[in-house]
């Protein structure tokens, strides 16, 4: 372990405050994970992020952290609302990239023989792949409503049920959105992508709940062993990428205007109260609403595919939203009496029991925290703790986290072999390209179970359920 990282306890490592850092860094990890974290320059990126004006307490990194750009993936930084800045590079390009879990009343065992048919139906209904457009075209006026109303727009348009909104944060709409702050280019880039999965690490999985660790909380979330569920991972598509690009360009100028000095231009930022800061916040919230609408429309397509693929009524299907989390987002929150802008980039909000922002149906136990594994491995449902509220601004990990570059993954795995291996495990795969499949090989990621264990042992979250995949749809 280098001088840069100081062990606090088995699951906490400090990056002491040095040079121009305003706060220290705090990494949640096992000792085994630390060399890779250091080698990957995550420590350096945490140090850089600790230069952001108004940052409080510490810049955090979750156990799934890895080298990104600007702030590392798996990073959390909270800024004082009055003194601090907002930084698009501490949110990322895929604004409100997130995960949605949809439950059913079906036992996985009962549909195993029809998984292939179900995957065909999903593949036919949910557009996936690089830059792919879907069946919806959203015109200029309609886009304004998507950007301001999020999943509510989708439900109002008939894509889903009112109940879906009850299980969502803020009833499926991020407040503070300013559609006018979203450029014409960004709106154009997103005009045909509502209801599409995209590519890269985005996927849709048909899963079986393999184990419920906490049956009490599991029951509140509507989960039971052997159950068939669907996990969806996608975000704001081209619209969000363009909002980030546009805003970063504006922020490059803002840094000079406000006399901000940063070690990495990708962290360019502006005071929260400045015109540039407010414009980015409004555009980011609008992009997050686009992501929520996207995931809601896909949820509707999933329901339709199930009804068609299994020839089943909505009542027998019992499909409803468990929860929807955004793991790339900056939000205004209150922690310890302070108003903060909490930037999470590859980290999940995990508010515990009793928190007013947790939907009423979950307030007694805490919000579900959805942690997808790498393709073909386990995924988890966790629940946040009071300790996470005091230590991590109510944040935990967001997934497995990459550990290998795409070129390395391609060298070690062929798409054909991976497809064979997944099929041998009984996992039905639908993909647009074998190359993309190989780039997302499970070997390119950390072990999600180890990541989740570190969070649990550090006291940031508790395991509620573990799911294993039956089918994967990948762009």
């Amino acid at each position: 372990m280098s001088h840069r990282v100081r062990k606090i306890d088995a699951w906490r490592f400090e990056i002491p405050k040095t040079g121009g850092m305003l706060v220290p860094g705090l990494v949640y990890a096992s000792e085994r994970m630390i060399p890779k974290i250091e080698q990957e320059r995550v420590a350096e990126q945490i140090e850089n992020s600790a230069h952001l004006p108004g940052v409080v307490d510490a810049v955090l990194a979750m156990p799934d952290c890895h080298w990104g750009y600007g702030m590392p993936i798996g990073g959390v930084a909270a800024m004082d609302v009055d003194q601090g800045v907002i930084s698009p590079g501490a949110v990322g390009y895929d604004i409100s990239c997130g995960v949605r879990l949809v439950r059913s009343d079906l036992k996985a065992e009962a549909v195993k023989a029809r998984v292939e048919k179900l995957m065909d139906a999903l593949d036919a209904r949910v557009a996936s792949g690089v830059g792919k457009g879907g069946p919806l075209r959203v015109g200029k006026d309609e886009m304004g409503r998507v950007l301001s109303r999020g999943a509510r727009w989708a439900v109002e348009k008939g894509f889903g049920d009112r109940e879906d909104l009850e299980a969502a944060e803020e009833e499926g709409r991020v407040p503070g959105a300013d559609p006018d702050a979203v450029s014409r280019r960004a709106q154009e880039r997103g005009s045909d992508q509502v209801g599409t999965l995209g590519s890269g690490n985005h996927f849709l999985e048909l899963q079986e709940v393999e184990e419920v660790f906490d049956p009490g909380i599991g029951a509140v979330f509507g989960l039971f062993p052997g159950q068939l569920v669907v996990l969806l991972h996608t975000g704001s598509r081209g619209l969000g990428y363009q909002v980030c690009s546009d805003s970063l360009s504006v922020m490059q100028g803002a840094v000079g205007r406000y006399g901000i000095r940063l070690p990495d231009r990708q962290l360019a930022c502006a005071p929260l109260g400045s015109p540039e800061g407010r414009a980015y916040f409004g555009a980011m919230a609008a992009a997050a609403n686009y992501a929520l609408a996207n995931r809601q429309v896909i949820t509707h397509f999933i329901r339709e595919s199930f009804m068609r693929g299994l020839d089943i009524s909505p009542r027998d299907l019992g499909m409803r939203l468990v929860y929807d989390v955004s793991h790339n987002l900056a939000r205004m929150e209150t922690h310890g009496g302070r108003r903060l802008c909490v930037h999470r980039k590859g980290a999940t909000r995990a508010f515990p029991a009793g928190h007013p922002d947790v939907p009423a149906m979950y307030r007694g136990v805490g919000q579900p925290v959805l942690v997808p594994g790498s393709m073909g491995t386990f995924s988890y449902v966790l629940v946040g703790t009071g300790l996470a509220m005091t230590e991590t601004f109510g944040s935990v990990c967001h997934g497995a986290g990459r550990t290998m570059s795409r070129s390395q993954a391609l060298k070690q795995t062929s798409g054909h072999q991976l497809l064979k291996d997944l099929n041998a495990k009984g996992i039905a795969v639908r993909t647009e390209g074998l190359r993309g499949l190989a780039e997302e090989a499970p070997a390119a990621y950390k072990d999600v179970s180890e990541v989740v264990d570190v969070c649990e042992r550090a006291g940031l979250a508790r395991k509620v359920a573990r799911m294993k995949p039956l089918g994967v749809l990948k762009g």
């Binding site: 990957e40 890895h66 080298w67 990104g68 750009y69 600007g70 993936i73 590079g89 990322g92 390009y93 895929d94 792949g129 690089v130 830059g131 280019r185 154009e188 880039r189 995209g198 590519s199 890269g200 081209g238 990428y241 363009q242 980030c244 690009s245 970063l248 360009s249 490059q252 100028g253 990495d264 231009r265 990708q266 360019a268 990459r402 550990t403 290998m404 570059s405 795409r406 070129s407 390395q408 647009e432 390209g433 190359r435 993309g436 780039e439």
Partner: protein, 136 residues
């Protein structure tokens, strides 16, 4: 001399670019981007055309703006800028004409944007060089 190469990055892809002149440097950036898309050998009738005029305070900003301009063309207008004529190029200005076939084959991967992370344009052995991280 290829003028560009792909550099491994854990989550994304690095694109190393070089050129004896600014014209060559920006042309190689565009060629490198097409390589990342897996579309270097795309051919077909011209389906899209754009006149790009950019001004930026530094060569780093100019490079990011240039690549992001081409990403927009591919992802939103759905054509591949395979034929690029750089008309004027310097450390803070770029005028170019881009043209190319419709995007109808599958791309190897989606490129979200060019980032500023660790980006520095410098002169090495008489060549303008830079490594830009593309978010994938």
């Amino acid at each position: 001399m290829e003028g560009f190469s792909l550099v491994p990055h854990t989550a994304d892809i690095g694109l190393a670019i070089s050129g004896a002149t600014w014209e060559e440097f920006f042309l190689n950036a565009a060629r490198g981007l097409l390589e990342v898309y897996g579309a270097s050998s795309a051919t077909g009738d011209s389906a899209g055309r754009a006149a790009v005029v950019l001004e930026a305070p530094t060569p780093e900003d100019l490079l990011v703006d240039w690549i992001n301009e081409l990403i927009f063309v591919v992802s939103s207008e759905r054509w591949l800028p395979t034929d690029i004529r750089v008309k004027e190029a310097g450390p803070s200005v770029l005028r170019a004409q881009a043209e190319g076939p419709r995007l109808d084959a599958r791309l190897a991967r989606e490129v979200k944007a060019a980032t500023y992370h660790g980006l520095r344009v410098g002169k090495k052995s008489g060549l303008w060089t830079a490594t830009v991280i593309l978010d994938i």
